[in-house]
């Protein structure tokens, strides 16, 4: 069964300025520690996650809420295995697919078809899987013959369609989504909703970071409220979202 468990996870994000980035500065600093002028080592540490304890089980549909900078994206990235926690542990079972930026890795000079393969590989699909899914991707994005033209000839709407079609074709046991996107025109919007719903139903766990509370109420059964890198509340979606709305006012 798929699960994700975080135990006492802390994540300190180091932010380097130019000084902290320079080998020359670091070497020079070694000779004269403690002199006032060269005191700062150019590294600021931000506590992005602070002692997070969580366990998501199969069947959970979790909505992540919280204001900007509360640690929602960082939490998603930690669960995806992109950031390793500074302290604490992250354990999981099942194939995790993060969809943080749906157009990641799209290449302007490659044709639509080539981009399907590229994006598919980046999402961790095998060539066989990609081949099997190409048909449905092509049908869904409705780009027809444009798929044989390079991506640079596409309008921005067409790009998003293609990116969306490939990204949502992925099979994941644990799906992590960040701010699902307004996609294309109204007719496509409706199709996209269905497709997302289908994607969700294939996954055992879905974690969704979003600002639209109505959407979270509709899709999720649990909600997680992040505040300043900490878990402010975690529980049934109604309770948590209501509390959050009251707090925000």
């Amino acid at each position: 069964m798929a699960f994700i468990e975080l135990k006492g996870a802390c994540l300190d994000l180091p932010i380097y300025d130019v000084q902290g980035r320079s080998l020359k500065k670091q070497v020079l600093r070694m000779g004269r520690r403690n002199t006032i002028a060269e005191d700062s080592d150019g590294v600021v540490v931000v506590k992005a996650l602070d002692n997070v304890d969580l366990r998501f089980e199969a069947g959970d549909r979790i909505g992540l809420i919280g204001r900007n900078g509360a640690g929602k994206s960082t939490l998603l990235r930690t669960m995806a295995g992109i950031y390793a926690p500074t302290r604490g542990t992250v354990a999981s079972n099942g194939k995790i697919v993060p969809l943080l930026d749906i157009s990641l890795g799209m290449d302007d000079n490659s044709t639509g078809m080539q981009n399907i393969r590229l994006r598919g590989l980046l999402l961790g699909m095998t060539d066989a899987e990609i081949k099997a899914k190409t048909e449905s991707i092509v049908q869904f994005c409705e780009l027809g013959d444009y798929l044989d033209l390079p991506l640079r000839t596409y309008s921005s709407g067409m790009r998003v369609r293609l990116a969306f079609a490939v990204s949502t074709a992925v099979d994941a046991e644990i799906l992590l989504l960040d701010e699902v996107m307004g996609v294309g025109d109204a007719a496509f919007m409706h199709k996209a909703q269905e497709r997302l719903h289908d994607l969700h139903s294939r996954a055992e766990i879905v974690v969704l970071a979003m600002h639209a509370n109505s959407e979270i109420r509709r899709v999720c059964n649990k909600a997680l409220w992040m505040d300043g890198g900490r878990v402010r509340a975690f529980g049934p979606v109604e309770e948590v979202v209501a509390a959050y709305e009251q707090h925000v006012g």
């Binding site: 320079s22 992109i82 993060p98 990641l104 590229l118 590989l121």
Partner: protein
């Protein structure tokens, strides 16, 4: 620490489809919509070899039939090594968007650089083949030695790229330092001159591991067997270098997403 890096190494090799594709894209992007495409590289390398060959060949009083193949092999091989290290130093930096958005194994970004430069090497190697065809192969018997020699050479380029890529992700002035070092290495390594022509300063060649690496891949193609010392230096460097590069990458693997 080795445990972690071996897992990454295994996964990276397994996703060869991804890094070969990414490597190709980069080449295609550079030469998009040009009729000759990547063969521009071959042409410019050919022109360079031709002009350096004529000028330095006469300066050093060399026989063209010996000097041109010598120079072509040295330059083509050196370019591959230097480019791999140079681009290796920005391997993680340039792939920052991928590293921050997807949990791929990390070494694929170094492999991608390696692959790209292998493809370029293949294009440049045409010149070597042409020159060998024109001036004749000196000794067919030692020619097959080129294959293990090349593999050893690549292994050495790869660990250097791996190491500088990691360090450059943390220290952003390192790529500049490295390109300066490569420039110096080009002059102190017998690439356009013969290893034995330094006379009084022959220690520069003897103590320079790069001289041995170049000699390793050059000798079989110009009909000589690389010396035992050369083999030992190359193998020793590869083993020590890989161990160190893997240990360092393993130690800081988890920090890479924070750095880029």
């Amino acid at each position: 620490m080795f445990n972690l890096i071996f897992i990454d190494l295994k996964q990276s090799i397994a996703s060869y489809r991804l890094w070969t594709l990414l490597g190709w894209l980069e080449i295609r992007q550079r030469y998009a919509r040009s009729r000759v495409g990547p063969f521009w590289l071959t042409i410019s390398m050919g022109v360079m070899i031709g002009s350096i060959g004529v000028v330095y060949g006469s300066l050093f009083g060399q026989k063209m039939s010996d000097y041109l193949p010598f120079l072509a092999i040295s330059l083509v091989m050196w370019t591959m090594f230097a480019q791999t290290v140079q681009e290796g130093s920005i391997a993680y930096i340039n792939s920052a968007t991928y590293i921050r958005q997807a949990a791929t194994p990390k070494l694929i970004y170094v492999f991608q650089v390696m692959w790209r430069n292998l493809v370029i090497l293949a294009h440049n190697f045409i010149i070597v083949l042409i020159l060998l065809a024109v001036y004749g192969v000196k000794d067919w018997a030692v020619l097959p030695v080129f294959i293990p020699a090349l593999l050893l050479y690549l292994a050495n380029a790869l660990w250097v790229a791996m190491l500088v890529g990691l360090l450059s992700a943390r220290f952003r002035d390192l790529p500049q330092i490295i390109s300066a070092l490569i420039q110096i290495a080009f002059y102190v390594t017998p690439i356009i001159y013969r290893p034995d022509s330094l006379k009084r300063f022959s220690f520069i060649v003897e103590l320079n591991p790069l001289a041995h690496l170049i000699e390793l891949v050059r000798a079989p193609l110009i009909g000589q067997m690389p010396s035992l010392t050369t083999w030992c230096v190359a193998i020793g460097l590869a083993v020590a270098g890989w161990t160190f590069a893997l240990a360092m990458t393993g130690r800081y693997l988890k920090r890479i997403p924070y750095w880029v």
